[in-house]
Symmetry: D2
Subunit: 397 residues, 4 copies
């Protein structure tokens, strides 16, 4: 309880708002002490909006603030490295928003800066921390669905709110960099962080928006265990924001819906003077979520980050994880260009993972392919004769 | 931020666990300082479980603890009055779990004790504080669904975990007292706290369990505005816990699902060594929730309580609200016995509410009953001739 | 296969359209031969619309048509008796739409007319025949959910399409007569047709529309077994048409959604020139159903009716069932007036039903109230000492 | 109505059962006259089961039956060509189950045989005919979701019921051939049959079962318009059968669920003696469908086939479509081997499709990338300066 953190928030965009709403929310003990913005005006508005004591247009002043022990980097992607360099030098904890960088090389550099400075580093990948994901990952680890075979992560909406994110130069890419980064970590959380992403197959296209960057992409990620991750990202989705994950295992299945179908449904004729937020239409069926900063993982993310700092352990999402994500995204862009599977090039620290496998079962010397329970209590077996290779079915008592 | 509260927790049952999990959860700044239990053993186990500094078997010692500023009453229903009397005398804030008491008379006495002592009082009705409910109520107040006509609240599960709750003498009743108390406040939150509950029609029966108290009940509550609330409670539900609310208004509809269908679905064959919590079966489709203390409203509830204490305002749920709930439940039991509508007898502090009404619209002197949009762009009107009383339909351009 | 029926369709409204769409749909072998309408114009339009050979403005001519073997009464409620009298005299099968009549007395007269004529009679209550309901009822009868305790049937929409239905004089009432009649048969199908509806408690009000008839009603129906049926009907629902049923049994639960959430979800921006049918809004999320005449039960209903005629058995829905429905609705109106439970007055032909009961189980001489499985494999029992009446809990190995 | 068809059913497996259940169901006028099976015993059992007049072990006898006008090929994949050759020679209509063949070459040969014989041919791809799909495709064609960008079709279950289907030699492959064939036609129905499938990227693996064929596969299909189809097939899914489709368009979104979440939910404790069909577990939450032969498209499929024969038009699913499906699947297997995009090699008869495109919109000479409606009624524009390439945002009145 002695540990109430004081934060320097770098950036006043949507993500800075979400982070501060989380830190200052409920009965939280941590506070943003100073906010940095390139614009004095936006800094002042942010200060006002969230009751933050100070604002500045100098990164150095923000990160060097004597009462601050934690720097949160919530700036556009192309400014991450510079900000981390400034912060790491102060010896303070550095937490960086997603994606970590515009490329694996840049992410690698960020990682080195922090590791060389010996400061605490954390990767602010919120969607891995949604309460549903945390529980689903825990169930997966406890064996509820057996070996993980396939994980799909979908993240689609009608495109980002900030102008800079539409500019591939500043952002490092399009929908893959914006949304795929979440999906990759969600996939890794289910297949296991020690399961190396080996290669990637990716399709990307600019189907709708008048931009250079991809507005739609789908990728498959093959892991060492044989498991396959899949992400589907889009900046052209109609109907709100679609955040869904699915996991298939040898013994079970998990389906997660984080946004559009979470048990809150509202129809409004639009004649009551009501203005819907975030929905595409002002009338009709709407699907709000309860508490967004909880449901999107921000609350549990900061709890883990500060908890890790206090307990001297690594957070669940490290800057190394951010680097892995960038390495996978780099492979995605290469695959989209070569139109073939592309290897994920990265310095791997995660060990090795065994191949997905189910013990072969035999009855009377025949391999059991499948067993069905019939309504009369008997079992129907699909069998394979290992000698002849012939398949047969047999009903047994 | 100066306000970190120290709590005396009275009771070590399921509700004490939930409250403490909430207070000590995430980055919360408040802490339970001392726990009271009738049993030294249970007190010690609780202290251990939650990292609470002290435990005691003396209520007086707990409520009189010098570092404590807030007393939380989480005891069986028949002990609420006694505990409140002890706490109120200390001048500390008193927060009482639901239901407030076993009857309106007893609730009235609790209210008087606290009001006479002039201390802060709060009614710990968590389900009114679920994030979905808070947003839905806010949307309702902003006009999204027009005038509220009907609210249904369903709360069913296979029966309580504690033995004392099955004993009508200690609990004050059965499923109505256990579950209906939540429903009544949910209904009131949507129809408006200033909308007087006028009368009640209730059916109650003991269909399954070998007990005296009702294990199933349904009630209608008629409010001054004409709106109708409805609750359905059961201790015999199969399939988990069903918490759903529905609101119908003149301009819209709201459906809330707090537990069984919230976007988290898992199938498990049961062969992975996994043990499901809270589900009725260990294999098959399961429907966990994300973060229970968030989803069930505990987090926002304590935020409101402590916020109210700090800001010198009333919490959203006052002890008076708890008294109203008991008055409605008393009427339910009377109605179930008389088999007719029973008036809600209570000292009303809430003002008056106007009758639900929609402005009558006319076309060509005829009353418009309904307007439908046809696929060809024309409108079909159902009209009533106010002179003759005749109904007719007419398609207009 | 020799049995291709020729139908005289009385009435050209929405229900006549649905019936004929069903009969003439898919690979059906039955056909409407002649249609009767009070208006020559509507009759001609109907003939054209459905490829019906003949139309007439004479009921006698329609029912007396030499090629016709089946008369379908799809007229406004106040014309049913007259039409049945005309049809029964011809010796042909008489199928009557829902509700059978405006009152139990009128329904009783219809029943007598048909029984005295000795012709085949069927009650066209479609919603009991939805494929989901048929399977759910079959599962219930096979023991899937144990003894039925409670059945809820919801039917709500923004009000009928035909002017006459808004006129209580012609219709016999409002939303109860229009929608409650479906609900009552759905409830009876689950609790068992041999389970006598004993008494009724009903609330009805006219909350929104400028009419005399009720636009909202809720009723509880107590059956001989102790099971309770519940219906919720409304002509003021916003958001489409809500048709949902729920069944709670001692060993299970059934939830049916027939319209708004059936696995077909569509968002449309409304900018593609698309015109939605039946949805309240032309843009936003829509929830169409697949094949309405299947999903609403019309297909299975006519299959049962013609199958019964051919096999010399009673259909699942007889005119007697229609009479029971009217008797329950009469009790609803009486209860709404007297504001107390009202007995269902009817000539009962259905036998007797035993009280819902679960065998009492004991361990060590104590009554087992509830058994919970703990994560560690042990069981927690809530027990009652039959001698002292005391409740206790005990964890066993 | 004169057109009641008499069918020779070749094959007595699950698909023959489904087809006959459909033809003989409800008020259908068509009948199976003779059934062919390689085994006299299975033929006799089928005859008994469905009330079919005759059975035979001679294909020639079946297809040559004088009362038969339609031959339905419901045999294992490797027997299709032989059966079609026998049937086409008789001049009767030939309807072939899915997949048409084991390869595009074999499918091409089947197509030629039928076209040379000049007889009516139909491809029995049922899932394109589900009522939901028919309505969703119709809405798509009428502009409800704008230009189609992406279609996903998921078909997964725990593996086929018949032994031969596990043998790649007889089946022509594994999950792709069994399930992917459905998905490909679903995708084509939404992107348009005239939209050429250009190339394919496919991953396939044998993750769980001890077989040679793939038990899991994912593929992307790029169409001439730029739209992308995606299929996900698996023989290792746990939890039932998952049939879901999703369509994303420039103006809307469609989600279809055909099996696991269709509005029918049942929990059973398993203690009522009830035996669940088709569910993996006998207790717990189950998700039955209403009428399977309707919901899986069989009813509308035969209605279209016979309607096409009677009206002298092509059915919605022709043998040419079956050939296209085989050509796409061939490309999938090639891509899975080459680990790169593989061209779809086929004789294309479908014309050309324009590129997906949205009209570029400008304000003040700047390209509008995105427009958001703010709660205060103003609009936020994300804009691109076509001269400088810079992105900016602007709030306008």
């Amino acid at each position: 309880m002695s540990n109430a953190h004081r934060v320097a928030m770098l950036g006043t965009g949507l993500i800075g708002d979400f982070y501060t709403m989380t830190l200052h929310g409920q009965r939280g003990r941590d506070r943003v002490q100073v906010v940095y913005s390139r614009s004095q005006e936006r800094g002042a508005a942010f200060r006002e909006r969230w009751g933050v004591p100070e604002s500045t247009t100098s990164i150095e002043e923000a990160v060097g603030h004597p009462e601050v022990d934690t720097v949160v980097v919530g700036l556009p992607n192309h400014m991450h490295l510079e900000a981390v360099e400034a912060a790491a030098g102060t010896g303070k904890a550095v937490l960086v928003t997603k994606p970590l960088a515009r490329s694996a090389a840049e992410a690698r550099r960020i990682l080195e800066v922090v590791e060389e400075a010996g400061v605490f580093g954390g990767y602010l990948e919120d969607l891995v921390y949604t309460p549903k994901t945390l529980r689903a990952v825990a169930s997966t680890r406890s064996g509820a669905i057996g070996d993980v075979l396939w994980v799909r992560s979908r993240e689609t909406h009608p495109g980002p709110h900030s102008a800079w994110f539409w500019d591939a130069g500043q952002a490092g890419g399009g929908a893959i960099v914006d949304l795929g980064c979440h999906c990759i970590e969600i996939v890794r959380s289910f297949v296991g962080k020690g399961n190396r992403p080996v290669e990637v197959m990716c399709w990307a296209d600019t189907l709708v928006h008048p931009i250079e960057a991809e507005d739609n992409a789908i990728a498959l990620i093959r892991f060492e265990s044989g498991a396959v991750g899949q992400f589907e990202v889009s900046w052209t989705f109609r109907g709100g924001m679609d955040l869904r994950d699915e996991v298939a295992g040898t013994e079970g299945t998990i389906w997660l819906d984080h946004f559009l179908r979470t048990g809150f449904e509202m129809f409004t004729s639009g004649e009551g003077g009501y203005v819907a937020e975030k929905a595409e239409a002002e009338a009709g069926w709407q699907f709000p979520v309860g508490d967004e900063v909880v449901e999107l993982g921000y609350v549990d993310m900061f709890t883990d980050m500060f908890g890790a700092m206090e307990e001297g352990r690594e957070p669940a999402e490290t800057l190394y994880d951010g680097y892995v994500v960038n390495a996978v995204m780099d492979a995605c862009y290469r695959s989209a260009q070569t139109r073939a599977w592309a290897p994920v090039e990265l310095e791997w620290r995660g060990g090795t993972a065994p191949r997905v496998a189910r013990t072969e079962r035999r009855e009377d010397g025949l391999v059991v392919i499948k067993e069905e329970h019939l309504p009369d209590g008997r079992r129907k077996l699909i069998l394979k004769d290992p000698a002849s290779g012939a398949f047969l079915d047999r009903v047994v008592g």
